[in-house]
C-alpha cells in the first residue's frame, strides 16, 4: 500500500520537474522583459571569479557579465556555480548565460551553444619541484587531484596512463586544498588557479610541469537560443574592436586578450 502510494507520488512529480525546460528562442525577450540578466559565474577561480575581502564576487568573468548586462541595458544577477554544475544551470534555465571560464569542446557543444571567446586560458599539470614529471607517462603511480567536470578533468582522463590515480574533487577550492594538504601529489588545473595557489603557498615549491590544453574561455548559452547568442556575439565583437576586451584582460590577467577564436 505504502509502496504504491510512493510510486504514484514519484510519477506525479516527474513531469512537474521536467516541464520548465520547454522554451527555446525566448531567452533574450525574457531578459529584456525582466530587465535582469542572470549569469552563472565562478567564485573559486581567481582572477576570473573569486570572493574578495568584502565577500562580494569579483574578477574578469564578473566584469564581463556586468559589461554585457550594461550593453543590454539591464541589471545583472550573479549566480555562483562550480565547474561541475554550470552546464546544468544552463540546461535547466536557471541562468541565461554562463561566463565561467568555460572552454569549448565537442561533448559540450552537443548540449549547449557557445558565443565567441572573450579571454585566454590554459590548463596544466603542476607539482613540487622535487617530483619528476617530464611527460604524462610519468604520472603513473602518482595521485593527481583535479576538479570534476572541468576541461582538464576530461583531457587528463584521456592523457594520463592507467597507472595514475586521478582523484576528483567538487570544486577548485577543494582540489587546491587537497594538493596543499598533501592528499594528492600532483594538481591539474587552470593556470590562474595554480598561480594564485603558488603565490599563497611558496613553501610547497610548486612548479609548472606539462600543458594539458590551450582553451580560451567562451560564453555559454542554452541550446537553440540563437537570438541571445547573436546579441552576445555582437557585444563581444564590439568590445574587441573598441579595446574594452583588452582593457579587461590587462586589468585582471596583466596582459591583453590577444588573438581569440570566433
Amino acid at each position: 500500500m505504502i509502496r504504491r502510494r510512493l510510486l504514484a507520488t514519484a510519477a506525479l512529480a516527474l513531469p512537474l520537474l521536467a516541464s520548465p525546460m520547454a522554451w527555446a528562442q525566448q531567452a533574450l525577450d525574457e531578459v529584456m522583459a525582466a530587465k535582469t540578466l542572470r549569469v552563472a559565474i565562478p567564485t573559486d577561480f581567481p582572477p576570473y571569479g573569486f570572493v574578495g575581502t568584502d565577500l562580494k564576487p569579483q574578477g574578469l568573468d564578473i566584469d564581463m557579465a556586468q559589461y554585457i548586462a550594461t550593453k543590454l541595458g539591464v541589471k545583472v544577477e550573479l549566480i555562483p556555480v562550480t565547474s561541475a554544475n554550470r552546464i546544468p544551470y544552463l540546461q535547466t534555465r536557471k541562468a541565461d548565460l554562463v561566463i565561467s571560464t568555460l572552454g569549448k569542446n565537442a561533448e559540450r557543444e552537443k548540449v549547449i551553444d557557445f558565443a565567441i571567446a572573450y579571454s585566454p586560458f590554459y590548463q596544466a599539470v603542476f607539482a613540487a619541484k622535487s617530483l619528476p614529471v617530464k611527460s604524462f607517462a610519468d604520472l603513473a603511480g602518482k595521485t593527481v587531484g583535479v576538479t570534476r567536470g572541468a576541461i582538464e578533468d576530461m583531457e587528463l582522463t584521456k592523457l594520463a596512463p592507467s597507472g595514475a590515480e586521478i582523484r576528483r574533487f567538487e570544486d577548485n577550492n577543494a582540489t587546491v586544498s587537497a594538493f596543499v594538504s598533501g592528499q594528492v601529489q600532483v594538481i591539474a588545473t587552470g593556470a590562474s588557479v595554480a598561480g594564485a595557489m603558488m603565490a599563497r603557498n611558496p613553501q610547497l615549491g610548486t612548479e609548472y610541469k606539462l600543458v594539458i590544453k590551450e582553451s580560451p574561455n567562451f560564453i555559454g548559452v542554452a541550446k537553440g537560443e540563437d537570438k541571445l547568442r547573436a546579441k552576445v556575439n555582437e557585444i563581444v565583437l564590439a568590445a574587441k574592436a573598441s579595446g574594452d576586451l583588452d582593457r579587461l584582460a590587462v586589468k585582471w590577467l596583466g596582459r591583453p586578450a590577444g588573438e581569440l577564436p570566433q
Binding site: I87, R167, F169, S181
Partner: protein, 219 residues
C-alpha cells in the same frame, strides 16, 4: 519538453554498481563501529566513572552540534597539518563512525534510562557483576526499545555518505556526479542515484529490522 535519455546513464552501470558497493561498505563498517562507540558512550554517561562520562558528553556535544561535512573536511584536509594523512575512504569511514557514535550513544542512553531501577537492583541482588548487569540486564531491553530510532539514524548516516564524494571517495553520488559531468545528463543521473539510494535505504531498514532482534538483543 526535454528528452530524457536514461540509456546514457544506465550504460555506465559498472560505475554505479561500484559506487553502490562503496556506499554499502562505508555504511556497514561505520554502523559496526558507530554502534560499539555508541554503547561505550551510553555506558560512560549512564553508569561509568564520572570523568569518562564528561569526556563522552563533550564528544557528543561537539559532534551533534557541528555539520557532518565539516567533520569530514577536518579529518581529510585538517589532519594532514598534524602529520596524519588518511585516504578518502578511511577518512569517510572514520567520519561516519564518529558521527553515528555520538547519536547512537544518546539514543541508547534514552533506552537505558527507561530501564526500571528495580530490574537492575534485582540483578545485583542475584550477585551479577556490574559488567554482567550492563551487558545482560540493561543493554538488551534498552536496545530493543530504541532499535527503530537507531535504524533510522543509521539510514541517515548512510544517506549522509553522499557527502563523502566531496573528498573524492568514489561512492554512489560521486559516481552519479562523474557520469553527468561526462555526458551532461544531470537530470537522469540524479534520478537514477535517487532511486538507488531509495532502494538501498529500504533494503537496509528491512535488513536491520530483521537482524536486530535476532543477532543483537533477542526477542
Amino acid at each position: 519538453m526535454v528528452q530524457l535519455d536514461f540509456a546514457a546513464v544506465l550504460v555506465e552501470w559498472p560505475a554505479l554498481l561500484r559506487g553502490l558497493g562503496l556506499t554499502a561498505g562505508l555504511t556497514a563498517l561505520s554502523t559496526a563501529g558507530g554502534l560499539l562507540l555508541g554503547v561505550g558512550c551510553a555506558w560512560a554517561r549512564s553508569g561509568g566513572p564520572r570523568w569518562l562520562g564528561l569526556v563522552a558528553a563533550g564528544y557528543v556535544e561537539v559532534i551533534r552540534n557541528t555539520p557532518f561535512i565539516v567533520q569530514l573536511f577536518f579529518l581529510f584536509f585538517g589532519l594532514p597539518g598534524l602529520g596524519v594523512r588518511l585516504s578518502p575512504e578511511l577518512a569517510s569511514v572514520l567520519a561516519m563512525t564518529i558521527n553515528l557514535g555520538a547519536y547512537a550513544g544518546e539514543i541508547l542512553r534514552a533506552g537505558i534510562d527507561a530501564t526500571p531501577r528495580g530490574q537492575i537492583e534485582a540483578a545485583r541482588a542475584l550477585a551479577l557483576s556490574e559488567a554482567q548487569v550492563f551487558t545482560r540486564v540493561v543493554l538488551p531491553p534498552a536496545l530493543s526499545r530504541i532499535w527503530p530510532a537507531m535504524v533510522s539514524q543509521i539510514i541517515i548516516v548512510m544517506l549522509g555518505s553522499a557527502v563523502c564524494g566531496q573528498i573524492s571517495a568514489a561512492e554512489l553520488s560521486y559516481q552519479a556526479n562523474l557520469i553527468h559531468s561526462r555526458n551532461f545528463r544531470a537530470f537522469e543521473a540524479t534520478i537514477v542515484a535517487t532511486l538507488l539510494y531509495l532502494a538501498l535505504a529500504i533494503a537496509l531498514r528491512r535488513l536491520l529490522s530483521w537482524a536486530g532482534p535476532r543477532l543483537l538483543f533477542g526477542r
